[in-house]
Amino acid sequence: MGSHKTREQDRQEGVSAVIEVEQLTKLYGPLPALREVSFRVEQGEIVGFLGPNGAGKTTALRILTCFIPPTSGFARIAGLDCREHPLEVRAKVGYLPENISLYSDMTVRRFLAFAASAKGVPRSSRSAEVERVMERCSIMEVESRIIGHLSKGYRQRLGIAQALLNDPPILIFDEPTIGLDPAQIVEIRSLVKELGGERTIILSSHILPEVSQICQRVLVINRGQIVATDTPANLTSQLRRTQQVRIQVEGPSAEIREEFAALKGVLRVQPGDEPGTYLVETDRHEDLRPELARRVVARGWQLRELRTQEVSLEEIFMELVTEEGPREEMK
C-alpha cells in the first residue's frame, strides 16, 4: 500500500472513512467519464451525488460496486480495495442500479429469495429476511406477483428491498426516484431518509431538491470532475455572491430601468417574468429595498411589489455546471 497525501491528511484529522476514493479516472476509449475524482464518505453519512446526465455519476457508482474497474486510481470500501477484494466489497454494499432491471418472469418473493441466497443469507433465516425487507419497503401485498406485471413504483421499491437484503452497512442508490410519480417520489425519499442512521448511503440524482432534502452532504459532479462538496445550506450561502430584488412598478419602463441602474450598489437590472416587473441584482450584503422604494415614490410611480428573491439551489447548480469551463481557465 502506497502512502497518499489525502490519507495522510485524514489520519491527522483522526477520522475513518467508510468509502475512500482517490484520483479515480475512468476512460471509455479516449473519452474520460471520470477525471481524477477523490472523495471520502464517513460512516453514517448520507451523501448526494449531484450532476447533469452524463456527468459520470453512474460510472463512479459502478466502480464502487465493483461492476467495472477504474482505469486508474483507487476506490476502497471499509478499507478494502474494489479491484482486489471484489467479493468482500460487494458483500458490504447494497446496490440499486439506475433504471433497475429485474428478472421480469420471477415472482417478487422468489426473486428476493434468490437475491438473499446470492448475498449469503443462510437458508434457515432466508424467508424471515425476505419478509423483513418486503415489510420495510411495503411490498408485502405484491409478494406473489410476477415482477413484469408490477408498476414502476413497486419495481423501484423492490429494487431497494433487494439492496437491503443481508443488511449491508453501505447502500448505493443510483437515481432512486427516476421515472416515479410525485407521490412515489415522496415515499421513496422518506424511505431513504429512514434508512440512514448507522448505514452509509450514497445516492445520485440530477434533481436538486431531492438531494437537498435527503442528504447531509452534496458532491456536485460535472464532466467527470467534482466541482463542489458541501452541505446543501453552505453551498447555497457560499455560492450566492449576489442577491436579487424583485420589484413591480407601474410607469415608463425605460426610465425606471435607468433610475434603478443608476443606484449605487446595483449590479444589473433585468426585466422580470411579468410586465412591469424588474429584477435588480445587488451585492449580497447590501439591502437596497428601502432605497428602491423611496426612489419609486419620489418619481411618482406606483409600487406594486417589492421583495428579495432567494437564489435557488437550481441556479447555483446551473452556475457550477455552466461556469466550470471559464473558471478553470481563470486558474
Binding site: R62, L87, V93, Y103, M106, R110, F114, S117, G120
Partner: protein, 256 residues
C-alpha cells in the same frame, strides 16, 4: 464457486417459468418418438421378411438396426434444440440489464458460469430421461442389450454437455439471443461434420479433423463401446468452453 447454488436455482426456476423449455421439450420428444417408431417399425418389417429368408435372419441385429439409428437421430435433434435452451443464459441478462445486478452480488464469476451451465445441462438430462419410455417399450417387445442402451445414453449426455458448454460460451459473447443461437448451431454443426473433410485433407490434418469431430466420438457410444478417449474428448471440450466463457465474463474488467 460462491454463488453456484443460488444461480443454479434461479436458472432452473426461470427455465421452467418460460415457454421455451416446454415447446423445445415437446418438439424434441415428438421427434425422438417418431425416430424410435420408425426404427422399430422397419426392424419388425425386416423380421417378417427374415422368416422366409434365413440369410437375412443372420443379419438381424437390434443394436445396429434400432438403437444405433435411434441414438444418432436423437443426437441430431439435440443439435437443433440445445441452442434454443442455451441462447438466453447470458444474452438475455445482458439485453435486459439484469446482469448488472447479478454481477454486483457477492458471487464469483465461476459460480455464475457453472450455475448456468449445470442448470441448462440438467434440463437436457431431463429431456433425455423423457425418451426412456421408448426403452421400456423395447424391453416389453424383446430383450434389449442394456449395455448398449447405457452407453448410448451416456454418449447422449456427454454430447449434450459439450453442446451446452458451447451454447453458454456463445451466449456470453452477445446480447442478442438469436445471434447466440445461430453461433451455437453453426459451430456445433461444423464440429459435427468436420470429419467429412478427413478424406480430402492430408493424413496429418485428416486425423486432427477426425479427432475434432463431435460425431466420430459419439458413434462409438452408440455402438456400445466405452472408450476413455471419447470421454476425455468431451471433458476437454466442456473445460475449454467454460474456461473461455469465464474469460469473456472477466473481459468486462479490461474491455469496458
Amino acid at each position: 464457486m460462491k454463488g453456484f447454488f443460488p444461480v443454479y436455482g434461479k436458472e432452473m426456476y426461470r427455465i421452467f417459468a418460460s415457454p421455451i423449455f416446454y415447446v423445445v421439450a415437446f418438439i424434441f420428444l415428438t421427434l425422438a418418438g417418431y425416430f424410435f417408431y420408425y426404427a422399430v417399425a422397419s426392424y419388425s418389417l425386416l423380421s417378417f421378411q427374415a422368416g422366409r429368408n434365413p440369410f437375412l435372419a443372420q443379419q438381424l441385429n437390434l443394436s445396429e438396426m434400432v438403437l444405433e439409428p435411434f441414438f444418432g437421430s436423437v443426437g441430431i435433434v439435440l443439435l437443433l434444440m440445445v441452442p434454443l435452451i442455451t441462447m438466453g443464459l447470458f444474452a438475455e441478462e445482458k439485453k435486459t440489464g439484469t446482469v448488472e445486478l447479478l454481477l454486483t452480488y457477492p458471487i464469483s464469476d465461476r459460480g455464475v458460469v457453472l450455475g448456468k451451465y449445470t442448470a441448462a445441462l440438467s434440463v437436457l438430462a431431463l429431456m433425455l430421461t423423457g425418451t426412456l419410455p421408448a426403452m421400456v417399450v423395447l424391453s416389453v417387445l424383446t430383450t434389449p442389450p442394456w449395455a448398449t442402451i447405457f452407453s448410448g445414453y451416456l454418449g447422449l449426455l456427454l454430447m449434450s454437455s459439450a453442446f451446452v458448454s458451447l451454447g453458454v460460451l456463445a451466449s456470453s459473447l452477445t446480447q442478442h439471443q438469436i445471434v447466440a443461437a445461430a453461433v451455437t448451431f453453426g459451430a456445433l454443426l461444423l464440429l459435427w461434420i468436420i470429419g467429412w473433410a478427413q478424406t480430402m485433407a492430408g493424413p496429418d490434418l485428416g486425423s486432427v479433423l477426425a479427432y475434432l469431430s463431435l460425431l466420430s466420438h459419439f458413434e462409438t457410444f452408440t455402438k456400445g463401446v466405452l472408450d476413455s478417449r471419447d470421454i476425455l474428448y468431451y471433458g476437454l471440450f466442456v473445460t475449454f468452453s467454460l474456461f473461455a466463457t469465464l474469460r469473456v465474463l472477466e473481459s468486462r474488467h479490461w474491455r469496458a
